[in-house]
Symmetry: C2
Subunit: 394 residues, 2 copies
């Protein structure tokens, strides 16, 4: 069973840093302050559940990154980042959730002490955990600096996965398959929903064949019947019932890498409208997989999916896919490209997506999805290998 | 097995709304825009894993609150909030993670259409999920409005728990006890850590005696040996080893209410320094529980704990407690009061805290903690009932 430290090679981290520095240069940034935990991990290897307090990584054009965070979490940084110990900066605990001080005051003092008080500093203004107050505190403390919106700057560098990353996602996909196999086996009328969730977590965390499972960035979602019209309800203790469809939105996770995978199970005999939707959705998925190849655009996948659905009288308002890979709660998406009509981003080999054309109708829902890898001259490869259909237990 | 909708009585929601409106009035706010998912739930009952996109609740002085969020999540809001359906506002999916539009543009248009464009609007500038960009987008779209920092305004109203809330926390505490009993039983040298985490989730989600388990706002934390110096590392697939202490930081959760509970297990014969720390810590906990009573201040608990620890030569830098109750990831704390020397907040009956004096030393860690309820004329009541000690398996 493989152990913890340093998930990736030194060369891989250097590749990531080089991409980020090029993007900083294009954006005219002297420094970049990264607060999105996924971006922090991608750049430095930092892994810990500490993103509920202010923390971040400072990226320099010409020196190793610095991890900055709460004093007690410096111990976790020392154990997980590839940089040397002097690249870990800790702020005192009295800044934490204080009513009179803000941790960004400590960060600003570091910038000033480094002689960087008049820099152009990129900040992730719409990434997770960089609050409006954090922004204003930095702004107030660094009157000579220019704070530049660098939302998504690092996320865009993460789009094309290295072979090392794809290997992690393949492991996550084995766990995803195990989860779905288990729930299809176990769900029966009368079984309380939380019992099934307990088994899903068991499969997810035990993992497969010596691959241990990490926590997914989103909890299992499994609404039934008319509640399946609402994509993000979580579970309770009520039993599964005959005559209802339940979609299962789950992901295996290996060292923070995900392979989301959704299937739907109907208990009993499905009504015609659901079977009708299933046929159109499967046709749309297959057309979308065909369109999801290097050189095509994100919108080509969305349009390929839409055609058979519209023929069947189904109009979806929502996007039907997003990039995936490394992530932390609250989302397993990368928040860059969206499979939607207006997104003309050109797909490149090595990009990975959750192709996610969920149907959330008036009083039922249907999810059949695939995590995919974009290839040259071929339809997308699916990370998981299970029948692409509505499962039925009568 | 109890089911899902409307966890609390109408009177309870009216109590919460009245407290919030009084606080708005004191702060001179015409409107309050609440984005912290815990505050959204506390005020309206809204429950769903949708906080990865922009959403919020608008609180009015003189009308029912409005839930505002992504189109597809409106279905979840319709199913969980106590307000009527016309108090659910949905924005179109093309705003989601768009490169050209921001969801706050939709919100601002609602404020303008309501004739509220020149209001004093409270925003939670340092609560979770209100990004710097969200703030600027509102600021740009509402040139006549005044955006006022209302960080923690609702959180402070949540401090004193109702009997209904305390009943939920007692259920969560039964689950916390079950988790700790299970892991003390199962952890042995050689057992991979992720296997134990799978069992922890099993106990947490299955729940106890017909009480189903919800997902805790923080994943189980269980670092061993020298890694236990780092409080927020998560697990991997390595086995437990003889000669190491592992602390287990876990919480049962019932309908988003928590009762965090930590115990430490040593495999083998504990060294003198850990036993020495255990004795001082238990003495400090007992002194702290004695001090944690209505009329005393938050700092009195911290000082009571510190005295025996300092006598034993242990200086803690970190705060030793925070309020708990309803929560969503990434934190199960309420982010108001802190048990620390400088916090002079007076304790009141019905307040609930995680009294959390974790010791994170150079090369080991020790956590023995209690979730507590403040009472009049008596030491704090502990929600869980298990021996307050270092557990040892030889």
């Amino acid at each position: 069973m493989d152990a913890s430290p340093a998930p990736f090679s030194a060369a891989e981290y250097q590749r990531r840093l080089a991409l980020t520095r090029e993007a900083m240069d294009r954006a005219g940034l002297d420094l970049l302050f990264v607060t999105d935990p996924s971006n922090m991990h991608w750049l430095t290897g930092y892994d810990g559940w500490s993103f509920y307090v202010h923390q971040g990584v400072i990226v320099f054009p010409d020196a190793d990154p610095i991890w900055w965070g709460r004093s007690q979490d410096g111990n976790g940084a020392s154990r997980t980042v590839w940089m040397s110990q002097d690249r870990v900066l800790r702020y005192a605990d009295w800044y934490v959730q204080s009513l009179v001080r803000h941790p960004m005051e400590d960060l600003a003092e570091h910038f000033l002490a480094m002689g960087r008080g008049a820099s152009r500093i990129g900040v992730e203004m719409d990434n997770y955990y960089f609050s409006a107050r954090a922004h204003l505190a930095l702004f107030d403390m660094l009157p000579e600096a220019t704070l530049v919106d660098a939302t998504g700057l690092v996320n865009w560098q993460r789009g094309i996965k290295s072979d090392e990353e794809i290997a992690f996602m393949r492991k996550a996909a084995r766990i995803s398959e195990k989860i779905v196999d288990g729930l299809l086996e176990r769900v029966e009328p009368g079984v309380p929903k939380n019992e099934i969730v307990a088994e899903i977590y068991g499969d997810a965390i035990r993992g497969v064949d010596g691959v241990w499972g990490d926590y997914p960035a989103i909890v299992p979602l499994l609404p039934s019947g008319s509640d399946a019209a609402a994509p993000h309800l979580t579970w309770d203790g009520r039993p599964f019932e005959t005559g209802e469809a339940t979609f299962f939105e789950v992901s295996g996770c290996y060292r923070r890498y995900h392979a989301p995978f959704c299937r739907t199970l109907f208990l009993g005999k499905p009504p015609q409208d659901i079977l009708h939707a299933e046929a159109a959705l499967v046709e749309g998925l297959e057309a979308g997989l065909e369109a999801a190849r290097a050189g095509n655009r994100a919108c080509d996948v969305a349009n390929a999916l839409a055609e058979p659905l519209e023929r069947a009288g189904i109009t979806r308002g929502a996007r039907c896919g997003y990039p995936i890979g490394l992530s932390y709660p609250p989302d397993w998406g990368e928040r860059t490209i969206s499979f939607r009509a207006e997104d003309e981003t050109v797909l490149e080999p090595g990009m990975t997506f959750h192709f996610m054309p969920g149907l959330w109708m008036e009083d039922w829902g249907l999810e059949i999805t695939e995590s995919i890898l974009i290839r040259e001259n071929a339809p997308a490869e699916t990370f998981c290998d299970r029948p692409r259909k509505l499962f039925v237990k009568t």
